[in-house]
């Protein structure tokens, strides 16, 4: 199968799984923005998804895409280290036009994964997972919160400064990852040329800033709200 047996094929898999994850981020952002306008509307989405079969199916597909992206990252990075050879340059200098993030995608990806675990522990574990093992309420911060009461989770976690700072660092790492990832993915699947490379780069920065700025806005909104109440 050329998608696994050739370098370009493996990169196509990497690119398509990455673009899929970006589409999910846009969907996730749309949900979060809802919470700013109405806690009820947000909880409605949480109930709608909950642990229903279609939400589980969606989560499974998402986890699959994420798994493919990670396995490919490990595989490609390992191969690239081999191709670089055993002896390293004594002096190396990053040329202009080469972004720092483009040369550190694997490390930035690891940072993103690290914060993702925190996010899972705080939200997914208490919401979808708790429901799956038969709970409808969980104790968070000394209070019982319903597993589909997403708004209460947001209010609780984003009232803690360390959580807010951790999430903001997460968004910066994600932004760095996306600013190289999106245009690079489109270049890999061949949708680029001398003119479009610059257009894709602009689109990439707009999308990355929209996603990470949007998440950052929601996080800060709830932190400030917690300070005022």
């Amino acid at each position: 199968m050329w998608l696994l047996n050739s370098s370009v094929g493996r990169k196509v898999v990497m690119s398509l799984s990455g673009v899929f994850l970006i589409l999910f981020l846009l969907f996730h952002l749309a949900m979060n923005i809802t919470a700013v306008f109405s806690a009820e509307a947000y909880n409605m989405i949480c109930e709608l998804l909950g642990s229903n079969w279609y939400a589980l199916l969606g989560t499974a597909v998402l986890a699959g895409g994420f798994g493919v992206h990670m396995v490919m990252a490990l595989w490609l990075t390992w191969q690239n280290l081999q191709a670089r050879g055993s002896s390293r340059y004594a002096v190396s200098d990053r040329p202009k036009n080469v972004s720092w993030s483009s040369q550190n995608m694997f490390v930035i990806g690891l940072v993103v994964c690290g914060f993702l675990l925190l996010h899972f522990a705080q939200f997914w574990y208490h919401m979808m997972f708790a429901e799956l093992i038969g709970y409808h309420e969980v104790e968070v911060g000394g209070k019982m919160i319903g597993t589909t009461d997403g708004a209460s989770f947001i209010n609780y976690y984003f009232s803690h400064l360390w959580v807010v700072i951790a999430y903001l660092i997460w968004y910066v790492a994600l932004w760095l990852h996306l600013t190289h990832g999106l245009w690079s993915a489109l270049q890999t699947v061949g949708l680029s040329n001398r003119i479009w490379i610059n257009r894709w780069k602009v689109i990439t920065y707009v999308v990355a800033t929209l996603i990470c700025g949007g998440f950052g806005f929601v996080t800060l909104f709830f932190y400030i709200k917690s300070l005022l109440s």
Binding site: W2, S6, S7, V8, G9, R10, K11, V12, L76, Q79, N80, Q82, A83, R84, G85, S86, S87, R88, Y89, A90, V91, S92, D93, R94, P95, K96, N97, V98, S99, S102, Q103, M105, H180, W183, S184, Q187, T188, V189, G190, L191, S192, N193, R194, I197
Partner: protein
């Protein structure tokens, strides 16, 4: 105005492919800034020979930037700190008096060191042999108006054909990827009517050979493009990807 400068050199010395290499330091006095980098190395070698020491081995041939033989990694850049030139076109006026210059060979699994600063770049020839040609005799040079070719395609093919196969792309790449080279060698043919016929097969054969020889996977860092002495653009890599994907979908 060009002056005479004193410099310190840190040069990679390695007696053979299997030997362990190390850096050795040399001082040179009164080097004219008007001399080329390779002339400076010639001066150093003269000095070493007169002291009864082994001269430094390095690749060079035409010394006018078209053969692709010279291959030094100078102060963290293939072909040195200047842009769009080969090592032989680098002049000592790019360095100040008292400068410390580190000279290393290309370091990539695809380019094993033969001795000192000379590496084996036969891998690139093997990639060309896998498909970088037109199989039929296309005759002599036809009249310019015999086969109409859009100006844009002709320019793109010519830009790709500027590649001299020096290996700076793979040497600069943190992934040791040869994609810029392969894409240039594919584009220079596939954009033109004589080369278009075999475009799909060529892309597949050359990528397969590149992978087999252990070059890495391109992650679009653009370091190759920045260091290429001929300014070959990564838009050729997008074209190669496109052709390779199309060819495999058609199979």
């Amino acid at each position: 105005m060009d002056k005479d400068i004193n410099i310190k050199l840190k040069v990679w010395r390695q007696r053979g492919p299997k030997e362990r290499g190390h850096f050795e330091s040399y001082s040179l006095k009164g080097i004219s800034q008007g001399s080329s980098f390779l002339e400076m190395l010639d001066v150093l070698n003269e000095q070493l020979v007169s002291e009864g020491k082994e001269p430094i081995t390095f690749d060079h041939d035409c010394r006018e930037g078209i053969c692709g033989m010279c291959s030094l990694y100078i102060n963290g850049h293939p072909h040195g700190p200047d842009t769009e030139i080969t090592t032989c076109q680098l002049h000592m006026r790019k360095f100040e008096d008292g400068a410390e210059i580190t000279v290393e060979p290309w370091r990539s699994a695809g380019f094993p060191v033969i001795r000192d600063l000379m590496v084996d770049r036969y891998a690139y020839d093997k990639i060309i042999q896998a498909g970088g040609f037109v199989s039929v005799n296309t005759g002599g040079v036809p009249d310019a108006n015999a086969i109409p070719i859009p100006k844009r395609d002709a320019e793109e093919a010519m830009d790709a054909a500027a590649c001299i196969g020096c290996g700076a792309c793979a040497a600069a790449c943190k992934n040791g990827s040869a994609m810029l080279f392969v894409s240039a060698k594919v584009s220079q043919l596939s954009l033109l009517p004589q080369g278009k016929v075999e475009a799909a097969r060529r892309a597949q054969a050359m990528i397969a050979k590149m992978d087999e020889l252990g070059f890495g996977n391109c992650t679009n860092t653009r370091a190759c493009e920045a260091e290429c002495p001929k300014g070959v653009s990564i838009s050729h890599i997008a074209r190669l990807n496109r052709e390779f994907i199309k060819a495999n979908l058609a199979d």
